[in-house]
């Protein structure tokens, strides 16, 4: 019997504003279609974070919940233990900023982040709202990112984090790069259900968690690929 992939959704009570459940559902679907069993664990902010998860997910949130989440995760230590063990961490938007050493909290006062990625974030001049397209680091072997961003963050990476992608449309980190990764910890400004439009990224996370993946039957991917193509075509036409 195969060990299930343990998907741990971290603090949906604090960090879930933009359809973040989509990432959980897509990972679950793409694993099950391959015959891989999945166990889903939702951890609220008043519960301990389990240390034995395979993939940890964090979503978006407003400034106050983001600050509270940082404080609790630092005190809890579960996510740090899991990451040190080599578990996969995937975070979007506010969750992404949390992964760094510092981010801008309420009124942009600096708040200590989790320090799982070598980067710091603050507030930019303008809110970045709209479609984003970015080309992923070739080392990761994932297709173009397409998504929606809605944030006012600016993120600068240190030498120990690599940019996830280079933006060809949209703002991302604010310096032509988008997202960051280091080992199996990966974050992006593509908010909410980022994995829905980027099934390649979903498969990368599954691969990191459980090794080489069997092919999906093509009809299982047909709609997702159509939707992805429609989005990419819509932004290149506009």
């Amino acid at each position: 019997m195969i060990d299930p992939i343990r998907l741990v959704w971290v603090y949906p009570d604090l960090l879930s504003t933009y359809g973040d459940r989509g990432n959980v559902l897509i990972l679950e679907r793409r694993a099950r279609l391959r015959g891989l069993p999945v166990e889903l664990i939702e951890v609220n902010s008043d519960q301990p974070v389990p240390r034995d998860g395979s993939i940890y997910l964090m979503g978006g949130g407003e400034d106050l919940p983001q600050t509270l989440a940082a404080r609790r995760l630092l005190a809890d230590g579960g996510l740090h233990d899991a990451a040190a063990r080599g578990a996969v961490v995937f975070a979007v938007c506010a969750g992404y900023q949390l992964l760094g050493t510092e981010f801008g909290g309420v009124d942009d006062s600096p708040v200590q982040g989790l320090g799982l990625l070598d980067m710091r974030s603050g507030r930019g001049e303008q809110r970045a709202v709209g479609e984003i397209v970015a080309d992923v680091d070739p080392a990761l072997n994932v297709g173009r990112l397409t998504g929606f961003e809605n944030h006012q963050g600016v993120t600068r990476l240190g030498p120990n984090a690599r940019p996830l992608a280079r933006t060809s449309l949209g703002t991302g980190n604010g310096d032509g790069t988008e997202g960051a990764y280091s080992g199996r910890v990966l974050g992006t400004y593509l908010h909410g259900p980022a994995l829905v439009r980027n099934p390649g990224l979903a498969d990368l996370l599954l691969y990191w968690a459980s090794g080489p993946l069997p092919q999906l039957p093509p009809q299982a991917e047909e709609l997702a690929n159509q939707m992805r193509a429609e989005r990419l075509a819509a932004v290149s036409a506009g």
Binding site: P12, D13, L14, S16, T17, Y18, G19, D20, R21, G22, L25, I26, R29, N44, S45, D46, E62, L64, P65, L68, V129, G130, E131, F148, N150, H191, G192, P193, V196, L223, A224, Q226, M227, E230
Partner: protein
């Protein structure tokens, strides 16, 4: 000499000119077929007299109605409930709910002593200041069109500050929504209504201190800071309203669904603040059958179509609750134009699993987004490209069709069905 002339003559000259010119512009806009003209009329009036709204509000008893969902319907219900007062009631029933829309509603009804005004959530602070309302009604607060709306905790904080600065205003607020209750608790006079909260994904944490809230049915409290659900005087209980004296009365509305029963109880609480008795007000509420085209029944080639509009996850959740039972097919339709919000991420916050086993049709400009969403919830569906294709399918299973659409998708179907001139 009627009331109309009377109220106008009390306005300063430049306000009179501004309302006249604004009114003329609205008429031109209507004739040109550019909507009902309320926004352009208001904009021109405000150009000529920036304090026009305050001037027009002076001497009137104003009710502002806000919340993420149910604003338009509740505005219509409150207007109906206040009819027993007699006399004209000013209102912006077509949903023009920012400064220009409110200005236009008041300038079109110079004789109205009472005004019931739907107000965009973001505009509450400035509109409370400008109109000095007698009552502010706070319905609910949840995620909505996040690419253009402010974040909701920030909104609640702004409401809270605005109400603290308006001591003469009575607030009628939903005590079951923790974010609303936190905003309203800064006001000096509050009528608390247990209006229910179906959507809870935005209120798991205490708005005051951020701790995870304890919840027991509709009750909620924070064990960290002690912030808790206030004691209520009006209650929605199933199909009944319980009034402050503890008497239960069956609502029996023509409008469907829990959300509308909730809106109705709030309307009754507002009516009471104006001295209108429950039985009189309720009789008026029962006469409301459709609100700006919503809940309308249309017949197309022998198929009865009902149109429901919902714009965000909380609204979709409530709308899915009122769907006719199988085998009636359901057409879901989503666009992502400006007024809808250009981001469809919210679809992933709606649980569609309850549609498994039903005839589901999927339309709208972003039907692929919806299709992928339904696929993830293992809900079989069929893609359609226009309302007639949906009617064709509906006629093979039941001569009925339920349509649930977001804003511009809903308007497109209304046009296609000949419900808009």
């Amino acid at each position: 000499m009627d009331d109309n002339t009377h109220h106008r003559s009390r306005l300063p000259m430049r306000a009179r000119v501004a309302t006249t010119v604004g009114g003329a512009a609205a008429t031109v806009s209507r004739i040109a077929g550019k909507g009902d003209g309320s926004v352009i009329g208001g904009i021109i009036g405000l150009r000529l007299a920036p304090d026009l709204l305050s001037l027009l509000a002076t001497g009137r008893e104003i009710v502002l109605v806000t919340g993420t969902n149910g604003k338009t319907t509740t505005t219509k219900l409150i207007t109906a409930a206040l009819a027993p007062l007699g006399g004209e009631i000013a209102s912006n029933i077509y949903g023009a709910n920012m400064e220009a829309g409110l200005t236009s509603a008041l300038s079109r009804a110079p004789g109205a002593r009472v005004a019931v005004l739907e107000t965009d959530e973001k505009y509450i602070p400035s509109m409370v200041k400008a109109t000095r309302p007698r009552v502010v009604t706070l319905l609910n607060l949840s995620r909505d069109q996040m690419d253009r709306a402010a974040e909701i905790w920030l909104l609640a904080r702004r409401w809270r500050d605005a109400l603290a600065a308006a001591p003469d205003c009575r607030v009628v607020a939903n005590a079951d929504d923790p974010l609303v209750a936190w905003a309203a608790s800064s006001a000096r006079q509050v009528t608390w209504v247990a209006a229910g909260q179906r959507w809870r994904e935005d209120s798991w944490c205490c708005p005051h201190c951020g701790a995870h809230l304890l919840r027991d049915g509709d009750d909620w409290s924070c064990r960290e800071c002690g912030h808790r659900r206030p004691p209520v005087s009006w209650i929605l209980q199933g199909d009944d309203v319980i009034d402050p004296a503890g008497r239960a009365t069956r609502l029996d509305l023509a409008l469907p669904g829990r959300a509308n029963r909730s809106n109705a109880v709030i309307a009754l609480a507002v009516a009471e603040a104006f001295g209108v008795h429950l039985t009189q007000a309720l009789a008026e509420l029962r006469g409301v059958t459709s609100v700006a085209g919503r809940y309308t029944q249309v017949n197309r080639r022998g198929c009865d179509i009902r149109l429901l509009l919902a714009k965000n996850p909380a609204g979709w959740l409530e709308a899915l609750d009122v769907m006719a039972p199988p085998p009636v097919p359901i057409l879901l339709s989503v666009n992502a134009q400006g007024p809808d919000g250009r981001d469809t991420s919210w679809l992933w916050d709606v649980d569609f699993r309850r549609l498994r086993g039903r005839h589901v049709l999927v339309g709208g400009e972003r039907r692929l987004d919806l299709a992928v969403r339904l696929e993830a919830d293992a809900v079989p569906f069929r893609l359609i490209s226009n309302i007639d294709e949906a009617v064709d399918v509906a006629l093979t299973v039941a001569p009925k069709l339920e349509v649930l659409a977001n804003y511009t998708a809903f308007q497109q179907y209304r046009v296609a069905l000949g419900r808009v001139q």
